[in-house]
Amino acid sequence: MSDAESLDGMSTVEVRTSATAALIPTIRAVASDLAARADFDLDAISDLRMAVDEACATLVDAADPTSVLQCRFLVRPERIRVHAEVESAKPDTVLSTDTFGWRVLQTLADDVEVLHKAATDGRRATVAIRLDKSAGDVPR
């Protein structure tokens, strides 16, 4: 994992797949399962499943064909944080956030953020999406 988040003894699950749209159903199934076990309400489970799908689909579009899609779920009291990451197709790949899918993602998640990381010696550039979802309705 390239970001600074460390395991803090809480429940953490990581799924790694080829960066292909055909495997996103597996990742969103994990998201759904974790949210259900964390006592998310039914709307929040549905929203997290859809948000994870959107995030992964956005990243797969920007990923190098040989990249891994790495999706880490940090399960916390009353919320789940998701960090999904791929290796960029190009060193200067920038995620497009001017899309319908991105607006949907912003609606579904409580908080969402794009993280670009430039290539460093031997490591390719990466792009990641971090999103937070709470277990129930938060006041908007």
Binding site: T20, A21, A22, L23, I24, P25, R28, L42, D43, S46, D47, R49, M50, D53, E54, A57, V60, F100, G101, V104, L105, T107, L108
Partner: protein
């Protein structure tokens, strides 16, 4: 390593089936089963295009039955919204049958539900009268055009 003789079983994503029928004169029913995401949305697009082409040619109304849909991503919503716009331009309004949270929640949370007439089951969608502005706000017939498309 990839084996050329055995195609990747996950290569095309999950199954998504569409089936078009004419349950009664003047109505085209498109039944959709499966999960609609970026991998499968093109198959929904193909099915919906076929239904809308037929509706355009025949002057029929269109009902899309999403009862068997267990996941709906923004890519699928975009296809449905495109279909609704096309039908609105033809003077109609797309009818959706959406019973489960897997479908109703994405429609609701994105506000897309305002673009469709949504029903709980196929029988209601087939038998409902064409939607019109609610009586309380509707102008008398002939005075002003409706503000949104009316089902036909």
């Amino acid at each position: 390593m990839p084996d050329a003789a055995a195609p990747d079983p996950f290569g095309v994503g999950l199954p998504l089936d569409t089936a078009m029928s004419r349950p009664r004169p003047g109505t085209i029913l498109l039944e959709v089963d499966g999960e609609i995401d970026t991998a499968t949305a093109p198959r929904l697009q193909a099915g919906l295009d076929e239904a809308l082409d037929a509706a355009d040619a025949e002057g029929s109304r269109v009902v899309v039955d999403l009862t068997g849909v267990t996941f709906l991503a923004s890519s699928g919503l975009a296809v449905l919204i495109g279909g609704a716009r096309r039908l609105t331009a033809l003077g109609g309004r797309l009818r959706l049958v959406a019973a489960s949270r897997s479908v109703t929640r994405p429609l609701q949370v994105t506000g897309a539900d305002a673009l469709f007439d949504t029903f709980d089951d196929v029988a209601s969608a087939l038998s409902a009268e064409a939607s019109r502005p609610s009586p309380a706000t509707a102008p008398p017939p002939g005075v002003a055009p409706p503000t949104r498309g009316v089902g036909r």
